[in-house]
Symmetry: C2
Subunit: 211 residues, 2 copies
């Protein structure tokens, strides 16, 4: 018999956002290591592959024409153009994963999150990661880059701007300790999996209990 | 300095429901032991205290007149009359606990949950506990009581009826293993605490990060 806890369910789309320096990248990596049912979304891009990058793993590399065609056909969950290069999340592979009950992690910015929210509705869970204090954020920014004072000041201003939009997210994690924060995001993921609305096998399961 | 993870928040009201025999009582007790910030709600009742019951601990014992007066003043979050006795949850102590950031656990039936939902809105988190299989439910009902076949059949029918309303809850926990189920409900509780909407100290916290 199959595991009764494992009721058929639709996967979710998980977005982690944070101002740069607040720890998002590390938390994402550790979360993926820890949870077999969570997969990183792979973006399409029109930029050229860098040495070592593998098509279909790091990015789906495509021409400007192909990208424009997919935009026209509404085949991106979200997309953006940064300088001369376009980046986007193709709808097809994400939908296939969700249907199989896999959860998909996204590395997108605020605008990307807003686009996802518009298309995905309740499939989307948005987590915002905050630094524990202003000093700590500044310290992490300085430690990460050997940049000029001017660059640091600009980054701090950007971070402030991003943090001001915490209200557009569902959950807030304060990143005091990295391992604790991985636990926190994992806790959110595990709780969301138990939500009635995701578990579309419940009707059949309860019917089996009642007949 | 205070713990930055401990952003001021409003408590939540947690309802655990299950058909009898599915394990609710044990899970509630273990959850209360494990989590210091969760308190059991104390009901008011018009029935006489039983030997050993302490007023204000087991129940708030009150006269029919006092109870009726509180009903008229809309001072119960939910109430019901069972045979000759009335039971209800006074609004005041629960609201005081929520304001202090304490979470409150309720032991109420389906009708009680519906009444709470009407008054509490997003303060309320509803968890339904299902048995892993029909055989397991029947086994637990038989083990618990040395009752006649007729009584068991009636209980199974009641359980089926209750389980048919799983759709009125937010989260579903399948109780395969008791300790796992305590973990599951605790996971839900911890995730809900990180919800942006409960953390009313966030605005000030983020302002402190940005200034």
């Amino acid at each position: 018999m199959s595991d009764p806890k494992n009721i058929k369910r639709r996967g979710m789309m998980l977005v982690l956002s944070s101002p740069s320096g607040a720890g998002k990248t590390t938390i994402s990596r550790k979360l993926l290591e820890r949870d077999d049912n969570l997969k990183m979304s792979i973006s399409a891009t029109t930029r050229a592959p860098r040495p070592g990058e593998v098509d279909g793993e790091d990015y789906i590399f495509m021409s400007d024409e192909k990208f424009a065609d997919m935009v026209n056909k509404n085949e991106f969950l979200e997309y953006a153009t940064v300088f001369d290069n376009s980046y986007g999340t193709p709808f097809g592979p994400v939908e296939a994963a969700l249907k199989m009950g896999k959860d998909v992690l996204f590395d997108v910015d605020r605008q990307g999150t807003q686009q996802l929210h518009g298309r995905a509705g309740d499939d989307l869970v948005r987590v915002f990661i905050l630094p524990p204090s202003k000093d700590e954020l500044e310290c992490r920014l300085r430690w990460r880059d050997q940049d000029s004072e001017e660059v640091i000041i600009t980054r701090m201003a950007q971070a402030s701007d991003e943090m001001g939009h915490y209200d557009e997210y569902d959950y807030i994690v304060v990143n005091v300790d990295r391992e604790d924060s991985v636990d926190d995001v994992h806790t959110i993921l595990k709780a969301e999996r138990m939500k009635k609305t995701r578990r579309d096998g419940l009707y059949d399961f309860v019917r089996g209990l009642c007949k």
